[in-house]
Symmetry: C2
Subunit: 208 residues, 2 copies
DNA sequence: CGAACGCTTGAGCAAATTCAAGTGCGGTGG
DNA sequence: CCACCGCACTTGAATTTGCTCAAGCGTTCG
């Protein structure tokens, strides 16, 4: 019976290759909206530096971040020509946008990127739907480390609140779990937003 | 500020139109595997009748169903040429398969279906990550009703266990919430697997 | 220097899970 | 045709996990 494949196998990085109508990079300050739910969706965005959050809100303000996008990754996929989600810069972020395919045929590259997003979203569903707080945080840390080159020490651009809204937890629970992992010597918090994975093996064991 | 758009706006139905290499329908008995995680993915499937569940397992057996597919809907999208999930027939099910696009260009239709799947998955993430048990069940019932033609009375092909694994709840919680909705006169359980929405308005109010 | 903000920590609480009986329906066989 | 069996579902009680509320800390910035 199946083990969960590492998220690393589905990186959504892409070479900007044969994508049409590429624009020069645009800078977005931390917290700035990139697009809003309901707006027409006609472009894709490639992260040059920084980070982006894609999210949705409930009427009472609850927020679910469905994905973060890091340098090299492409986002902006939406169905029916309009955005179903919000996109914001998590921190100072540079984006390069390019035209979505239109017409009867789409470049295979677009489809592949969309499919990788889909796999990622569905795998995240497993984390949020069936894993406890420690498992969620462990999976998050491993994913972030992996997507930033697999180094043991790395920065996380996002706040505890962003992490909570991504994992379906409160900021207090995020904080408590990080403290506990630190107390157990699994990770080291070099600074608030810099993590060192001291015991990758232990973390991996916790993540499932 | 944004309200959550109804799931109905992103049906993934499709006319089999210009899709290549369409095969005659294949029958799958309840519980039968359609494909497994790790298998090569080269075909798409259109549900003719019945229902399909797409899921993933954790090592200890916890299961997350990421989607159900109902008649008229298409599934089988996977990245990198292999399946990252399992697909099983929920009940007696007829499927028609056809070839995935290959080569440099993909039919727009494929991209659109994949994108609608993506939006659906991300919206489901909001339900699982940020809504309580009552809200999840209400959203599920409304979604099922909507996808079966919007009638007030409809069958659900799936067991309580399937529903729980889809919504990130235990079967006991699913059962309790359904009982409570029945006690409040919001729904009527015509039989175990047949639901009548008596107060659609109330149910909609509960779903967010 | 003080205010603001993001984060941490603690205590009590509530929602959902776990564990444990029951109930009822559908199917099988006497 | 009815009785029985099995399985899915329901219901209850106790427990646990994560949330809420509240206070305190530390860094940054005006």
């Amino acid at each position: 019976m199946p083990a969960t494949a590492p998220l690393s196998t589905i990186r959504s990085e892409v070479a900007p290759g044969r994508l049409a109508d590429v624009q020069p990079p645009v800078f977005h300050a931390a917290g700035k909206e990139i697009y809003a739910q309901g707006e027409p969706a006609d472009r894709l965005y490639r992260v040059e530096f920084g980070a982006v959050r894609i999210y949705r809100l409930l009427a009472d303000g609850r927020r679910q971040i469905s994905a973060f996008y890091l340098p090299g990754e492409v986002f902006g996929f939406e169905a029916d020509g309009s955005h179903h989600f919000f996109a914001e810069a998590v921190c100072a972020t540079g984006l390069r946008s390019f035209a979505r395919a239109s017409g009867d045929e789409a470049p295979r590259e677009h489809l592949d990127m969309a499919l990788r997003c889909l796999v990622r979203a569905q795998e995240h569903l497993l984390v949020v739907g069936r894993q406890n707080a420690v498992e969620r945080i462990a999976a998050f840390l491993l994913d972030m480390a992996d997507r930033q080159g697999g180094l043991e020490q790395f920065d996380i651009a996002m706040s505890r609140s962003d992490i909570g809204d991504y994992l379906g937890l409160t900021i207090e629970t995020v904080s408590r779990v990080l403290s506990r992992l630190r107390a157990e010597g699994v990770i080291r918090l070099v600074s608030l937003r810099t993590v060192e994975i001291v015991k990758p093996r232990a973390l991996r064991a916790l993540s499932a």
